[in-house]
Amino acid sequence: MIDRIQSALARCGISMWRINETVEETAELFFVRKELDTRRTKDVRKYEVTVFRDVDGQPGGEPTRGSTSVKLISAMDDGQIDEELRGAYYAAQFASNPYFELTDPTTAPMIEKTGELAGAPLAQSAGKMARALFAPDQHEDAFINSAELFVSRSAQRILSSEGTDVAYTDAKVSGEFVVQCKQPEDVEIHNDFEYGELDEQALSDKVAEALTFVRDRARAQRILKSGRYDLVLSGNAVVEMLSYYVDRSSAFMVYGHYSTWQNGDDAQGEADGERLSLTLQATQPYSAEGIPMADLPLLDSGKLLAYHGPNRFCRYLGVKPTGSYEKVSCANGTVPFEELKKGPCLWAVTFSDFQLDVMSGHFGGEIRLAYLIEDGKVTPVTGGSVNGSILEAQKDLTFSTQRYVTAKYDGPYAMRLKDVSIAGPGE
């Protein structure tokens, strides 16, 4: 198919292009309690072609360069492929943007992921992870209500008119599960997971922790009063909070003037608490544009070290294109978790959906389980919502020494924020 696409590009007179080929195979399991709901499997092969076109004679006389992408499948005949590519090339002249150099060429042999997950039959890996999932589910009071498990293996190949020809394979296991506890109140908590290895122990540990939390949620009371609290966030809520710094330092946001940060700026502003140190971590050898990916130090004690992002926006800012990252690590953490959550404070463990708006800096979510910690007493509470601003909260942050590692994060398990507004259901 790649040969057919390259021939079509030549026939259509398109000299600047990139082809992304993705091949994916999955084994998918769906459970209700411990019973199999549905089994699924998938074999797909996809092609996305991006064509570039230079346009002369734009206002101001500056050279411009446009691009458009289309998706192709092998079932298309040559005439259809030509039609799609010609349509994209025609459209590209109207997507003309300030001139930028295309991605530098890279050629390398296929990089193969190794390990049990990459090598074993998908069905076998799915079976192992299913057993790991249900291993801690041994009690009547709290249990897995339902679960979904996806094991996938994929291969990516990226070619370009500039000479790029790179490829790599990947494998991952991901999914979600809902834990339920029926007494004294019938409640549930949603969880998701993603691992790059066949990490059965990590999944079992996550389920065991979730079962503990859902038992606490079942006895949690709707007594939280509205007011301002020191707030402890943990797990994925910490990752969401730190996404502010990742997004605001992206070349896209800086070029668009949505972020005013400049390299060397103090991105955190004046702060009494810990100064942030973040590194973007490469999880794939190449970006979708074929840019070789490497770990990138982002913040050092709150100071911005780098912009990051796709080729075009990095070129505009005059920095080396880095590709887009999916994982961040955080070097912070000065206080053991037990000390971090010493009262008075509210440790919000799970939300229905904790979100941070990168544009406004606002963060919030509805609390499903929190522990109100005061006067040496720990009270599980539920209901109410968090409504805060990272622009205020970042002035005094404390992180735990206890770590939390996922496919998209490696850093402190918890962070403490001072004086955050909470709307509670209590009188």
Binding site: A27, E28, L29, V32, K34, E35, L36, D37, T38, R39, R40, T41, K42, D43, V44, R45, K46, T68, K71, I73, A75, Y90, A91, A92, F94, A95, S96, A123, A126, N145, S146, E176, V178, Q180, E188, H190, S226, F252, G256, H257, Y258, F313, S352, D353, Q355, D357, M359, S360, G361, G364, G365, E366, G383, G384, S385, V386, N387, L391, A423, P425
Partner: protein
């Protein structure tokens, strides 16, 4: 449109016949789609396909001795039938071996009543016929108009996109064929207050084509004024307020707070409180809730992704929960009738019970009367996000703007952002006024949990209720 479906159909019919020699049930859903997205902002002009929607491919469903199984693929021709059948058989055998000791959820094979249908929706202007140049010029004009309103505006981003798709569902007794096109557009206007960027958003959607763009111009100035007003907004003191919800906010409450809770695959899992409330008052008698394709919006379709014909499902009738919405597998497990709500993110994903066009019916008040009835309260506008909690009927919805109402009049004071929280039946039972005309918006995507994105629309009339805000 989509002649590849016509070419594949005889082979797909043969595939069904071949699979039926082994399995007691076999069906296939074939999908071909065409998307394009035009976007302009300070970061430039972008023309691309849409990543989050559909794709072209096939999904086969069979029932074997264990239960329901599916195989998704995107390369098909008649000569591949033996390979498809042997791959399915081999993978199912491997999976069953790896899962020794697990049992299957008992699932009767869904009914396969005879049905033949071929329908398509209509549009006035196909975006491809209007052309890339004209569309870019139109959205560039919208952007320039917004920027010209005030020098404090940081940027305006204008977007238009469409998806046209054709779906063919074949089983032993069903031959269903539909072609649908919808178009979405949006204008987001931004202004900054230091590091904080405020955004006002105006969405538009329709079952149709590029004629939608003609509706956008009228809203540009107001959207720009909305963002400037947000620059003077304040955090809201947490508490309970008498509120008027605009139609979009009503729609978010319909969809997030209540709709997800009546998706009946959640009944199968014992994950929805609504399961035990059928026939009971869950809302004010002013509340009647619909889901389905009786209205023309982004999620209108003639049959769902499991080959069930769609219609109009009355979920709440004058405050009483009548029924949920249901996919075919869940219906078989519950002994219920499927409602045409079995939907997939794409041919690559599982079908779940999903909403389509979901809305509250109108009442008999006017928005002016409703605002005048508030002594001390708020007008809630511009929802930004929400999350379901079917198990406990907890509410998490976020809106951008709350406009203060004192003594029946808007004071001009604005609070932002706003988190709605509380218990769903409390909110719905507090509904005391509805305006006459429901308005639906279909720009958004709906996730099930944190994934499985499908196109939906939701809405309703202006709605007066008592709501806890934070």
């Amino acid at each position: 449109m989509f002649p590849s479906i016509d070419r594949a159909k005889p082979g797909l019919q043969k595939l069904i016949r071949t699979l039926r020699e082994t399995y007691p049930y076999a069906s296939v859903l074939a999908v071909a789609d065409d998307t394009r997205n035009w976007r302009i902002s300070r970061t430039g002009i972008d023309i691309s396909t849409l990543d989050m929607l559909g794709g072209t491919g096939f999904v086969v469903r069979v029932f074997d001795g264990t239960g329901c199984a599916e195989y998704s693929f995107n390369e098909f021709s008649e000569d591949k039938i033996p390979t498809i059948c042997s791959t399915m058989a081999q993978r199912l055998a491997e999976q069953d071996a790896a899962l020794e000791g697990f049992t299957a959820l008992p699932t009767p094979i869904p009914a396969d009543e005879p049905a033949v249908l071929k329908k398509e929706t209509t549009w006035k202007v196909h975006p491809r016929e209007l052309g890339d140049e004209a569309i870019v010029n139109k959205i560039a004009a919208l952007r320039e108009k917004a920027l010209a309103v005030d020098e404090r505006i940081l940027d305006a981003r204008a977007v238009v996109s469409y998806q046209a798709y054709r779906k063919l569902f074949l089983s032993e007794h069903r031959d269903l064929d539909q072609t649908v096109m919808y178009t979405n557009a949006a204008l987001a206007v931004m202004a900054s207050r230091g590091e904080e960027i405020k955004v006002a958003f105006h969405p538009a959607s329709m079952l149709g084509g590029a004629e939608l763009l003609d509706e956008m111009d009228a809203s540009v100035e107001q959207t720009a004024l909305d963002v400037l007003a947000l620059l003077d907004s304040q955090p809201i003191p947490p508490g309970e307020y008498d509120c008027i919800c605009d139609p979009e906010t009503t729609g978010m409450i319909v969809h997030e707070a209540f709709g997800h809770g009546v998706e009946m695959d959640m009944f199968v899992k014992d994950r929805a409180l609504a399961k035990d409330s059928i026939g009971e008052y869950v809302a004010s008698p002013l509340v009647t809730m619909h889901d389905g394709s009786a209205v023309d919006e982004s999620a209108t379709m003639f049959f769902d992704d499991e080959g069930t014909l769609t219609g109009d499902t009355v979920i709440i009738d004058r405050g009483v929960l009548e029924r949920g919405m249901c996919d075919a597998l869940s219906a078989a497990r519950l002994g219920a009738v499927p409602t045409g709500n079995g939907r997939r993110e794409s041919y690559e994903r599982k079908a779940y019970t999903r909403m389509t066009n979901t809305y509250f019916q109108g009442g008999d008040s006017t928005p002016e009367e409703m605002i005048a009835s508030i002594q001390d309260g708020l007008l809630l506008e511009a929802p930004s996000s929400g999350m379901e909690d079917p198990k406990n009927w907890g509410i998490q919805c976020m809106v951008t703007t709350a406009k203060e109402i004192k003594d029946g009049k808007l004071t001009g004071k604005i609070y932002s952002p706003i988190v709605l929280t509380g218990y769903v039946p409390d909110l719905l039972k507090s509904v005391s006024m509805m305006s006459k005309t429901p308005e639906l918006s279909g720009c958004g995507m709906c996730g099930k949990g944190h994934k499985e994105w499908v196109k939906v629309s939701d809405g309703g009339p202006y709605m007066k209720a008592h709501i806890r805000l934070g």
